[in-house]
Symmetry: C2
Subunit: 228 residues, 2 copies
Amino acid sequence: MKIAVLGTGMVGQTLAGRLDELDHDVTVGTRDPEATRARATPGESGTPPFSVWQAEHPRVTLSTFATATEHADLIINATAGVASLGALAAAGAENLEGKVVLDLANTLDFSHGFPPSLSVANTDSLAEQIQRAHPTAKVVKSLNTMSCKVMVNPAGVPGDHLVFVCGDDTAAKVAVEGLLRQLGWAQGAILDLGGLGAARGTEMILPLWLSVMQKLGTADFNFAIARA
Amino acid sequence: MKIAVLGTGMVGQTLAGRLDELDHDVTVGTRDPEATRARATPGESGTPPFSVWQAEHPRVTLSTFATATEHADLIINATAGVASLGALAAAGAENLEGKVVLDLANTLDFSHGFPPSLSVANTDSLAEQIQRAHPTAKVVKSLNTMSCKVMVNPAGVPGDHLVFVCGDDTAAKVAVEGLLRQLGWAQGAILDLGGLGAARGTEMILPLWLSVMQKLGTADFNFAIARA
């Protein structure tokens, strides 16, 4: 499948790398490819410069948001949540039309320090904002409730932990669930919460995720649900 | 222990009933005891009128918020979150001074229908608001991330699910953890997330809790964390 991964940070690199291993035709989208290639300093969390990662992933191409999405069958939003609407606007409405947009971003706002708040929460969500900005796109929210390492290797965390999925288009959710299965998620680990409004709940879990990460001293965990 | 349970709804009844079974000296606090006793209609979720419950729990007394808290060693806020600050103000600052206040309320705002939003979220929490309003009280947030049935019977849900605890006073958290152990929570099931600011995260999990409840068709579940 032709997949555009928007975002060149740790999440984008991790997703793009794994999807490339799975033999998808992956293009990474960025605002300014020349600037991304020229950057020599590590990103947040010690992520290597994109050029270093690119050298290890020669089949993956880097292009503008518009070029990456134009040729994609499925688009993954792995940009920072506070920059996502701008990135998707730069991609161009015509390049998102009718396409599945898997949004895994979180609107973490670090402008007041740690712990961050969310720039969108409670009465709205980033996923719904993206859907409203691109009404013909088929937005599915998923994978945003865990570290990117767990996203692409769920078996790395033992037990029956979950990935939540929500969206207003059933076919788009089926497409995303197919991708999740390829990433290693068992069918029983995929919990469809219904329409895209449920993204409010999954996006709002991030502050708790951060508290748990601080408490455990690791991001190698995931939420699960015990049922009677 | 002398415990005041503020709130006469389903959560208050369930907590007060279980603590009475555990031989604590329980007083339920309400705004207007006469009005509470006179009410003959079931509450939200089909909760029986308090008078019916009271007849089955003759050792539990009903009194004003002020009288209930005045004689209590530990106070449990089981009022509706949107009414909690008012209830605690009615209790009187002098009756909360130096005492442990276990806050298990959630600020669900149903004024715009279902699903509810939260009346406080993201950059503040109800627990922190209570702490600011009563600076000498020792506020601990816990138990708010599950149904009241699970609160008092964690073994009713199989598996290693969790109860989160946070607060700024260590002794108060120890007191609350002691109560949680009596309610049936194993030591390993109690996750201390640190200071009271972590209540933002645990309160913000409610929209996801509601989505999962709708999906599963039951409230007999609880959050868990799978760890590598």
